[in-house]
């Protein structure tokens, strides 16, 4: 039988496996199987590709797979769950880089007369998108891991530089399509893409990272699709689009959860801070961890609202321990997860899963808000902007209109926090000044451990 036919048929099979795999990911109980199905699809596609007749030597292939596989396995084994945003950023970047290299290699084949204009242009786009994804992801990775400052970095004239690069990239499309084939245009494209990726990511602050990671995730898929068109390979096109769609949907969810447009987030580093509309009234009341224990001991229902601070303090296991004690004490415990809590979509859910919290006890914002009044205690661990009532009450606030977890409606609110300073958005939080709010200052993990000890006594 024709090997080309066999290879292409195996790609159809692989596409089916990817699709079924993603379908199984729609429920936590079947998700693990879904991942396995997807992996089997990839395995089939890779193995069958190796029988292609235009593959003549296997040394470089074997060396590349062994090297890349070993690095990948090592990264996957040693990563802490709190570092998942960094790892996903890094993988986004590698995906972009692989597409860039693939686009470039499609231009270097020995018989350059095979290259027609459409292929040149699409290879150009795969190089451009791949490059932006790569350098953008590396910057995001640096910001998340702390090797770069996570705040927004801007410099004068940045907008002009943006505009210049975009114009340059558009001009190059025309050049590539009309001028005789010359590799130098593509090397310039790589340079433009790398610079643009860096410039696009550095003005974005830490709290907006969930959006950027999602967006770069989708770029890595779109880059793979572009590379797939350049080398005319259907499985790359289909799989790349599945990834691209996934990233775009996550980006939309994140934007909606912040009540901001994508453009606003991408260019937020340029906007001036908005004046606070109204003065906050009331005073901050502190509470010791010991006194917090007495309230918790009497509580019938407790809701825990985690944020990025829980990841920083590595407090998820202490949270789970407290949950067990509260439940043994007869209280109901629920978790309320805001879509943008943490540094990537679903960040909090993974940390709590690591600490053995059953996923049924994690509630989305819209599910928990209607019953917020019924909770005796809301414990806020390292979250700030996502519970800031200014989003509902203060028209002048920069976060006005953002949907929040309405923790202030619980009977008692405990805020576990290092200090009373503003959150990442730099917005004062009127929640800290409410009558039913008590601040428990200190490291979240230490505070939780003190409460846990009190339960033991």
């Amino acid at each position: 039988m024709d090997t080309v036919l066999i290879v292409n048929f195996s790609y159809v099979i692989a596409a089916i496996f990817f699709i079924v795999g993603l379908k199984l990911l729609s429920h936590p109980a079947t998700a693990k199987r879904g991942n396995l199905v997807s992996a089997v699809g990839m395995f089939i596609a890779v193995v069958v590709t190796l029988i292609r007749q235009d593959i003549l030597s296997y040394e470089w292939i074997a060396a590349g797979i062994v090297l890349g596989g070993a690095i990948g396995a090592w990264l996957a084994k040693r990563v802490e769950m709190t570092e998942m945003p960094e790892l996903v950023s890094l993988f986004n970047g590698f995906g972009g880089l692989a597409s860039l290299l693939l686009g470039l290699s499609s231009l270097t084949i020995s018989d350059a007369s095979d290259l027609h204009v459409a292929l040149l242009v699409i290879a150009y786009f795969s190089i451009l998108i791949g490059g932006i994804t790569f350098s953008g992801s590396i910057v995001a990775w640096g910001k998340l891991g702390g090797t770069m400052p996570s705040r927004a970095l801007i410099f004068p004239g940045m907008r002009w530089l943006y505009a210049l690069i975009i114009l340059g990239a558009l001009a190059l499309v025309v050049v590539v399509a009309t001028q005789p084939f010359d590799m130098k245009w593509f090397y310039i494209a790589i340079g433009l893409a790398l610079v643009f990726g860096i410039l696009a990511t550095i003005p974005i602050g830490g709290a907006d990272m969930p959006v950027v990671i999602s967006l770069l995730n989708s770029y890595s898929g779109i880059a793979a699709t572009a590379a797939g068109i350049a080398i005319q390979n259907n499985i790359l096109i289909v799989a790349g689009l599945l990834v691209g769609a996934s990233g775009i949907i996550l980006t939309q969810i994140m934007c909606k959860a912040m009540n901001r447009s994508l453009m606003n987030i991408l260019l937020s580093g340029f906007s001036k801070p908005i004046e606070q509309g109204a003065k906050i009234e009331g005073e901050i009341k502190a509470l010791s961890a010991e006194d917090a224990f007495y309230v918790l001991e009497a509580a019938q229902s407790v809701v825990v609202i985690p944020g990025y601070g829980m990841a920083v303090a590595q407090a998820q296991h202490a949270v789970k321990e407290l949950q067990s004690l509260l439940e043994a004490n007869g209280a109901e415990v629920a978790y309320a997860i805001h879509p943008v809590a943490g540094r990537m979509p679903g960040h909090m859910n993974v940390l709590l899963a690591e600490a053995d919290v059953p996923y049924e006890q994690l509630y989305e914002m819209d599910a928990i808000n209607p019953r917020m009044d019924s909770f005796d205690v809301a414990i806020i661990i390292g979250a700030n902007d996502v519970v800031n009532p200014a989003a509902k009450e203060m028209k002048g606030s920069p976060i006005y209109g953002m949907p929040i977890i309405e923790a202030h409606r619980a009977r008692n609110v405990f805020v576990l926090k290092r200090s009373a300073s503003a959150g990442f958005a730099g917005v004062d939080n009127p929640l800290f000044f409410k009558d039913n709010t008590r601040m428990v200052f200190g490291d979240a993990k230490d505070t939780l451990n003190t409460v846990i000890r009190e339960f033991g006594d």
């Binding site: 379908k23 991942n35 292939i61 590698f94 999602s214 769609a245």
Partner: protein, 98 residues
């Protein structure tokens, strides 16, 4: 004709992607992203041909580098997703393990 055929694939795959991903619950969004990383490593398929075919030396080298990075994504992506998903337990399961 070939262009129309490609356009068909593009449109259908994009719609299919949106339909599938919309059904993934928020609690699984991190594994979804790392799983997507693994799937985007599908560039490995194209890289294999570049690295293994009889072409210029530059093609082989670029292909080899693409194989390395795509393999990191495929292997790392699937393994870390599996590791994460193993942690997601329902009430039933987590009380069994105690």
């Amino acid at each position: 004709m070939e262009f129309i055929y490609l356009a068909f694939i593009l449109v259908l795959a994009a719609f299919l992607g949106f339909e599938l991903i919309n059904k993934v619950p928020a609690t699984l969004h991190t594994p979804l992203m790392s799983g997507a990383n693994a799937i985007s490593g599908v560039t490995l398929i194209g890289a294999l041909v570049s690295a293994g075919s009889d072409n210029t030396e530059l093609t082989t080298w670029l292909g080899f580098a693409a194989v390395v990075f795509a393999s990191i994504n495929v292997v790392g992506g699937y393994l870390v997703t599996d590791r994460m998903l193993s942690m997601f337990k329902s009430k039933q399961n987590s009380s069994d393990t105690k």
